[in-house]
């Protein structure tokens, strides 16, 4: 376990292969003077589970939107290994963001549909993605018939269905109750072990970030910036026993300390 300044983290990264995605001094200024993000640099490698942890307003969502291409950096650049195309990304928002007029299966079909693929042709992939989140029996249900946790699972299945290189998750479980959240945390790791995707995950929760991620990027606000990186070197798979281990507690302490530093007290 290490708590280091970001400058040092870059050195350890240098030994690894070329990053899947790299942010290079990315800044974002809104309305001429609101610095939402200042000089953010981050390398994300194949198989990483990176959490962005920080107080409200530190630019976590802004960073994700920049990576997703929904807005453009005011300065700095974002590089994708081998260029980017529409199939590279899966996205999960804080709300499930499902189309209420469409069934679960049709919702999961959406990324394919927008690329012109017929439902019948994609059905095996859709079923597989829904099976991964344990909802294969709810293909024909409408979102309103599902609980909050189940809707979130559909949203995750939709992000997975195209086998994207990178999945962005913006506080996906923040609105859920503690029990559902634990369950979904476990399931997310199980799912990741199965398909080996790369994830950038935004959260406010120290515990969630330690449990899930291999690296925690701690950010501070005004201006939004990266101030620490905490490596969580505990091996996967992680289960309930990890949650009660001393290793976990130690990582939580380190991440908490970094977060307090970010909040400034």
């Amino acid at each position: 376990m290490t708590l280091q300044e970001t400058g040092v983290a870059a050195e350890t990264a240098a030994a690894q292969p070329a990053p899947l995605l790299s942010l290079d001094g990315v800044s974002k200024v809104f309305n001429g003077d609101l610095v939402a993000l200042k000089g953010m640099s981050l390398d994300v490698f194949q198989g990483d589970f990176v959490s962005l942890l920080g107080p409200s307003g530190c630019g976590k969502s802004t960073a994700l939107r920049l990576i997703a291409g929904l807005s453009h950096p005011t300065s700095g650049r974002i590089n994708w290994a081998g260029g980017q195309d529409a199939g590279d990304l899966g996205v999960v928002f804080q709300e499930p963001t499902l189309m209420p007029w469409a069934t679960v299966a049709q919702n999961v079909w959406l990324p394919w549909r927008l690329r012109g693929a017929k439902f019948a042709a994609m059905k095996p992939q859709i079923e597989e993605a829904l099976a991964l989140v344990g909802l294969e029996k709810f293909m024909d249900s409408y979102p309103r018939e599902l609980s909050g946790g189940m809707k979130m699972r559909v949203s995750i299945a939709r992000a997975l269905v195209t086998n994207p290189r990178l999945i962005l998750m913006d506080e996906p479980f923040a609105a859920l109750d503690e029990i559902t959240r634990h369950k979904l945390n476990n399931d997310l790791l199980a799912l990741r072990a199965k398909i080996g995707c790369t994830i950038i995950f935004v959260t406010h929760s120290v515990f969630e970030s330690v449990f899930l991620s291999s690296r925690i990027v701690v950010m501070a606000a005004r201006p939004g910036r990266v101030i620490h990186e905490v490596a969580v070197d505990a091996p996967y798979p992680r289960g309930e026993d990890f949650r009660t281990s001393t290793d976990y507690a130690a990582h939580c302490r380190a991440a908490s300390a970094a977060l307090h530093d970010a909040i400034g007290d």
Binding site: R65, A68, G69, L70, A86, L89, V91, F93, E95, T97, M99, P100, W101, A102, L110, P111, R113, L114, R115, Y142, P143, R144
Partner: protein, 288 residues
């Protein structure tokens, strides 16, 4: 460590208790009342109407007794039915054109800011100018009575469709919009798969209002246009019968117009319910 199970308490208590049974009774009473109360009011009103005619000796060419109106409905049924069909045709055609025009304009408005900036003010002006004031001009410039009447009814009916649909197209969930952008959706795909379904409940709300307005437009147009070429609808029948002091027929036609309005509204409500019942809050029944 053992976790004790809680002992099952009051195993004998019935699942539906007296409270719940009482609530169920109240619900049944409420459902019955929804039909029964207006019906009672109707019967009382008709009875009073009849008594007022008798007590005051009002002649039938001023205020006919309800029985006479009912008789006229039956005796004149052929004339009245023909008139009803004509008014109904104008109304439905106008509604159809209002839907096509309203939705079409709404889509154009959301696709092109320039188009919206240029034409929206005129749509509003057309809407706020009373149709009775425009109608005479329309029949001066437009030779075909049918087209003139359609135009009148359309002017009144299209605006709620236009404004509701525009609102609906613009109110698609912003996260879903972002998602569509991330997946590289084209403008057309966004419209087809996101904006139009989002607009559906709004459109249907506008449609219900437009149904009533189309009828009003058709009636106004008949008053202004007279009969030439199109045959006489219900509104023209009212006009003509009142000249001849055939007041029972005026009442009969009036009742038919009102009934037609109610039927149009009910059918549109039903249609809207069928389209939305699977997913939209407005059409969902929740257990209380």
């Amino acid at each position: 460590m053992a976790i004790a199970e809680t002992a099952p308490t009051a195993a004998a208590a019935p699942i539906i208790d007296a409270e719940e049974a009482r609530r169920a009774r109240n619900r049944r009473r409420e459902r019955l009342g929804r039909w029964l109360m207006p019906l009672i009011v109707l019967v009382v009103m008709i009875f009073l109407w009849d008594r007022i005619c008798v007590w005051n000796n009002i002649p039938h060419y001023i205020l006919p007794r309800p029985g006479l109106v009912a008789e006229t409905l039956w005796v004149d049924r052929l004339i009245l039915f023909k008139a009803l069909l004509i008014t109904l045709r104008t109304t439905l055609l106008a509604l159809l054109v209002a839907v096509i025009g309203g939705v079409g304009l709404a889509v154009l408005f959301t696709q092109s800011r320039l188009f919206e900036m240029s034409f929206y003010p005129y749509a509003v002006i057309l809407q706020v100018t009373p149709i009775v004031a425009i109608a005479p001009l329309i029949f001066i410039y437009i030779q075909s009575k049918l087209i003139g009447m359609l135009l009148c009814a359309w002017i009144v009916a299209f605006f709620p469709v236009l404004s509701n649909t525009t609102l609906g197209l613009n109110s698609a969930d912003h996260n879903l919009r972002d998602l569509f952008s991330i997946y590289g959706a084209t403008r057309w795909q966004k419209l087809r798969y996101l904006q139009l379904p989002s607009a559906l409940p709004y459109f249907l709300g506008g449609l219900r209002i437009a149904g009533g307005l189309a009828l009003i437009g058709a009636v106004v147009a008949e008053y202004v246009a007279g009969t030439g070429g199109v045959g006489s609808g219900l509104a023209f029948t009212i006009l003509e019968s009142s000249y001849r002091l055939n007041i029972p027929r005026v009442f009969a036609a009036l009742i038919l117009i009102a009934a037609m309005g109610v039927v149009i509204f009910t059918v549109l409500s039903l249609f809207s319910h069928l389209l939305l019942r699977k997913w939209h809050e407005s059409a969902l029944k929740r257990e209380g």
